[in-house]
């Protein structure tokens, strides 16, 4: 348990992601590219699902600006970018929500892939701890939304394709733990 708690403490120091804007065409053009596309959806689930389809999951160096996202033909962003964009879509449609974070326990062989990709891109990998990772999510009503996977989940104890959710925390709130999972995690 102490292992998980110290990871949680460490993750708290990671700021929730906010993509910055230079206030000039370099950034406003990218913002337009993203939100112009997302506006076409009349259905909120479809609009939020379009976020990770439009912005391929991958490393970002923080603090990031909109003009840092284009890569090749597409856009690249991590779950922080996905959460920030999804939150903006929710805000525009006046859906009450709060930003938040989750701690996931991924499959054992997964973190090595991500650490390698992030290191190659020169991006910080503070979000990857020993056997758990930090992941940005959104709270909508009494449900949680995973902006990178476009899935609802019930909170701590749920399973996402990125792994089991060990803990969740709303911005300015406190951690909610999955008792069973944290016990498992604490096992040496």
């Amino acid at each position: 348990m102490t292992g998980l708690l110290s990871e949680l403490k460490r993750f708290e120091r990671i700021d929730l992601s906010r993509v910055a804007c230079h206030g000039t065409a370099c950034c406003t053009a990218v913002r337009h590219r993203v939100f112009g596309r997302l506006m076409q959806y009349a259905n909120m689930g479809a609009a939020l699902a379009a976020v990770p389809e439009l912005i391929r999951w991958g490393p970002v160096r923080w603090p990031a600006h909109w003009c840092d996202l284009p890569e090749g033909d597409g856009l690249t962003g991590d779950c922080g970018v996905h959460a920030d964009v999804a939150a903006a879509v929710l805000t525009r449609e006046a859906v009450p929500h709060t930003r938040g974070r989750a701690v996931l326990r991924p499959a054992p062989l997964a973190p090595a892939h991500w650490r390698a990709s992030w290191t190659e891109a020169g991006a910080g990998d503070a979000w990857i701890a020993g056997r758990v990772v930090h992941h940005e999510v959104i709270k909508v009503g009494d449900q949680w939304w995973d902006p990178s996977e476009a899935r609802w989940f019930s909170g701590a104890g749920a399973h996402l394709s990125g792994g089991r959710v060990l803990a969740v925390r709303e911005e300015h709130g406190s951690w909610q733990l999955d008792s069973e999972a944290s016990a498992t995690h604490a096992r040496p």
């Binding site: 499959a107 062989l109 090595a112 892939h113 394709s161």
Partner: protein
């Protein structure tokens, strides 16, 4: 994963209780077998099937499932002792993956049976030869690349006709010559059935988008789907099985199958193939067995098929043979076949249930929705392309005459001072096509060629048709009159269509007419009663097609329609003192030669029962027109088929055979010259806008047209590529050319479209010029 790290799993040799029948021996030599591709739905990967087969042979063997998402359903199965869940290929890191695969295979007694096509290829590329991977090497894979021509030769079976030129023109021709449709096949994976060139173009871009690679076409072969699955080790064929699909899913995946041993010649051929390729691992040959029993090879997959456990439960256990390095001896089959059932199982608590994932309807479906995410792997281009993308390697189709789709540019003079777009008549091509057609019909009996006025009412063309000895075929009295003015005498003309008596008049003289409906026959009687003067030597009716839907003709295959038609036609012929005839028309360019000749023979078959009821045979059989310009070489064979398989009257009564060659003669006779107004580049391709529009060539958005560019001294055909030519109008569908290479084309350049005769000329209209259309009724 509660079982411990799979990489360091203790070798748990299959303990084999005393009661187990163990044809492979009680213990496997392997301690742990890793199997990838575990997803099991209506389009399953083979992994779970392979795992079950190994479990059947060795109840105590340690079997570990491997896949790239917790949503891979087979990972939840209790047939597995453990599982390895790697990140989806959208999130995986290649070198890390290679390292991890090597580490999993470090223990002496570990083996991997890869069951995902692209993963097999990536393993071969990244790990080279690896004695613990029971999959084919890069060299083996290279020997069986698509289309599998060499493999088919070694096995002594046929291979489906294929087309690697994916220019619009080549697609159009291949589809027209494939009566059962075609398959759009991705380089590595995926196949979609298509029936039209438009569908092929759309599906081709789906394949390119989903898999990030090229594609080709294969002709569908009608027959029974079957497969040969095999297992081989270092070029030695261990065992094989022949399965005939008995039930398939909507997507064509096997649901039940009949299991059999290979016959000796297939087994020998397969053993040779496997030896030459030095094959290791499972494999599958997908075949079609024709009604006569001969086999066509469609596909060679570098892994076991997903139904492989179906063969195992019948007693032919190929996964076990692969792991044991030998086939088990058997004494007949345990069952003659297998079927699948659907089974619900609880999820593995470690993986949990992943909630529903939303999709964005407006964007293309995300490529990685299949849990194993192989399409993401394809898009990352980590596996070297087996073949260069189609445009680079397509070979221009050989052209024999200037009338065919290439070569029109040789007849076209240099661009003159006239404004573009401009239309240029290439009249010599009309006579050239006429001669070619005459050669096709020579020896087929008495044949009359009638120029279809609507396909080119240009005075010069009408005069040329008259000079060549043709008669007019008209769909209105106005057309008949126009033809008459330019030398095609009305009294020798043929009237067709649903409104042939328009515009109204008291008196008509023609050689023949064919009524389009029973209502027309009835109204003719009524009009004759009230004084209409009609002179014709032949009265006829048009037969509706039997198998394809059409708004034209009388359904003579329905007995009531036949009886009424015979009565009305008989009395009309008597009233006019005329002979009778039967007419069929459906565009051959739509059906292709093979389907057209069957439709034509079937519809004209009505001539025999009609003759019985009329008391005399038909004097005329009219087979219409609508032939595609490329299909000139098929005319003779198709008409021969119709004469042989159509009504007995065609062979016994020596009727006059009438052909109404419209666009096959007129299509090449016009070129449209146009100037490039705008050139716009994007990262991947470029578009140009020209000053011609679909109004100037109305078929251009639907039919491929050859295009040439004037380089200052001569016209040079544009090669195939990925670019488009857009018309100047503001209509979305005003796209005049696709899949062309426009890299040499600049703004201001002059281009010419060939094959703009026929409907591209006769149906052309003014649009976007600020001109008001002619007021109807004020000609």
């Amino acid at each position: 994963m509660e079982e411990g790290d799979p990489a360091s799993g203790e070798p748990t040799y299959a303990a084999g209780t005393e009661t187990v029948v163990a044809p492979f021996g009680r213990a496997a030599k392997a301690g742990t077998v890793f199997i990838s591709g575990m997803h099991s739905d209506t389009n399953p990967s083979p992994g779970l099937s392979v795992a079950r087969s190994l479990r059947l042979a060795w109840p105590g063997l340690r079997i570990v499932g491997l896949d790239y998402s917790p949503e891979s359903s087979g990972l939840h199965s209790d047939v597995l002792d453990d599982l390895v869940c790697l990140p989806t290929w959208r999130r995986a890191h290649l070198e890390t993956w290679v390292e991890q695969m090597c580490r999993l295979l470090e223990p002496d007694d570990a083996l991997l049976i890869p069951c995902l096509d692209l993963e097999v290829r990536l393993l071969a590329t990244e790990l080279g030869f690896h004695d613990k991977i029971l999959g084919p090497s890069k060299a083996s894979l290279d020997m069986v690349r698509k289309p599998p021509v060499d493999a088919a030769e070694r096995l002594g079976v046929r291979v489906a006709e294929s087309e690697t030129d994916t220019s619009w023109h080549a697609i159009d021709r291949f589809v027209r010559r494939s009566p059962h449709g075609v398959w759009v096949k991705g380089e590595v994976y995926d196949a979609y059935r298509a029936y039209t060139a438009g569908e092929v173009l759309a599906l081709g871009s789906v394949v390119e988008h989903t898999w990030g690679g090229g594609w080709h076409l294969e002709r569908h072969v009608a027959g029974q789907e079957c497969s040969i699955a095999f297992a081989a080790l270092n070029g030695r064929l261990l065992d094989a099985v022949f399965v005939t699909k008995a039930l398939v899913t909507v997507a064509g995946k096997t649901w039940a199958g009949e299991v059999a041993e290979l016959d000796d010649s297939l087994r020998d051929g397969l053993a040779d193939l496997v030896a030459d390729a030095r094959w290791t691992g499972g494999g599958e040959l997908e075949l079609i067995r024709s009604w006569h029993g001969d086999l066509t090879l469609m596909e060679l997959n570098p892994r076991f098929p997903a139904w492989i456990h179906g063969a195992s439960v019948c007693g032919i256990n190929l996964p076990a043979a692969l792991v044991a390095g030998r086939a088990a001896s058997r004494d007949g089959l345990l069952a003659p076949g297998f079927t699948r059932v659907v089974e619900e199982i609880p999820v593995n608590p470690t993986l949990g249930i992943t909630p529903f994932g939303w999709v964005a309807g407006g964007l293309p479906r995300p490529a990685d929705k299949h849990p194993s995410g192989m399409s993401c792997l394809g898009q990352r281009h980590l596996v070297p392309a087996e073949r260069a993308a189609a445009p680079e390697e397509s070979i221009p189709a050989p052209t024999s005459t200037a009338a065919q789709t290439g070569g029109f540019e040789e007849l076209l003079g240099p661009p003159g001072p006239e404004a573009t777009p401009s239309r240029h008549l290439l009249l010599p091509l009309f006579a050239e096509q006429f001669q070619a057609l005459k050669e096709q019909v020579e020896g087929l009996g008495r044949v009359l060629l009638a120029h279809s006025v609507k396909t080119c009412p240009q005075p010069a063309v009408l005069r040329e048709a008259a000079r060549l000895g043709m008669v007019a075929e008209a769909i209105s009295l106005a057309e008949l009159e126009a033809a008459d003015r330019f030398g095609l005498a009305a009294e020798q003309g043929i009237l067709n269509g649903p409104a042939k008596w328009w515009p109204a008049t008291d008196r008509v003289r023609c050689w023949a007419f064919f009524a389009d409906s029973l209502a027309e026959l009835r109204s003719l009687h009524a009009r004759l009663d009230s004084g209409f003067e009609l002179e014709a030597e032949v009265v006829g009716i048009r037969a509706a097609p039997v198998h394809v839907a059409s708004r034209f003709g009388i359904p003579l295959h329905e007995p009531e329609a036949m009886a009424e038609a015979a009565g009305l036609l008989g009395s009309l012929a008597r009233r006019l003192g005329a002979a009778w005839g039967l007419h069929f028309h459906f565009a051959q360019s739509v059906l292709g030669a093979s389907r057209w000749q069957r439709e034509c023979a079937a519809a004209l078959g009505a001539a025999d029962p009609l003759a019985d009821q009329m008391g005399r045979p038909p004097a005329v059989l009219d087979v219409g027109g609508g032939w595609h310009i490329d299909d000139m070489p098929y005319v003779r064979a198709s008409l021969g088929y119709v004469l042989e398989h159509g009504p007995a009257a065609a062979r016994e009564a020596d009727p006059l055979l009438v052909l109404e060659p419209g666009k096959i003669l007129t299509q090449p006779t016009v070129a449209v010259v146009t100037q490039v107004v705008v050139r716009r580049e994007s990262r991947k391709h470029c578009d140009i806008v020209v000053d011609a529009a679909e109004g100037d060539m109305p078929e251009a958005p639907y039919q491929p047209h050859p295009v040439a560019r004037f380089d200052g001294s001569r016209w040079v055909p544009l090669p195939p590529g990925r670019d488009r030519i857009l018309g100047r109008s503001c209509m979305e569908h005003d796209v005049l050319g696709v899949r062309l290479d426009l890299s040499d084309v600049q703004e201001g350049d002059i281009l010419a479209f060939g094959m703009c005769g026929a409907y591209d000329t006769s149906m052309a209209y003014d649009f976007g010029r600020g001109t008001a259309s002619r007021e109807l009724g004020h000609s």
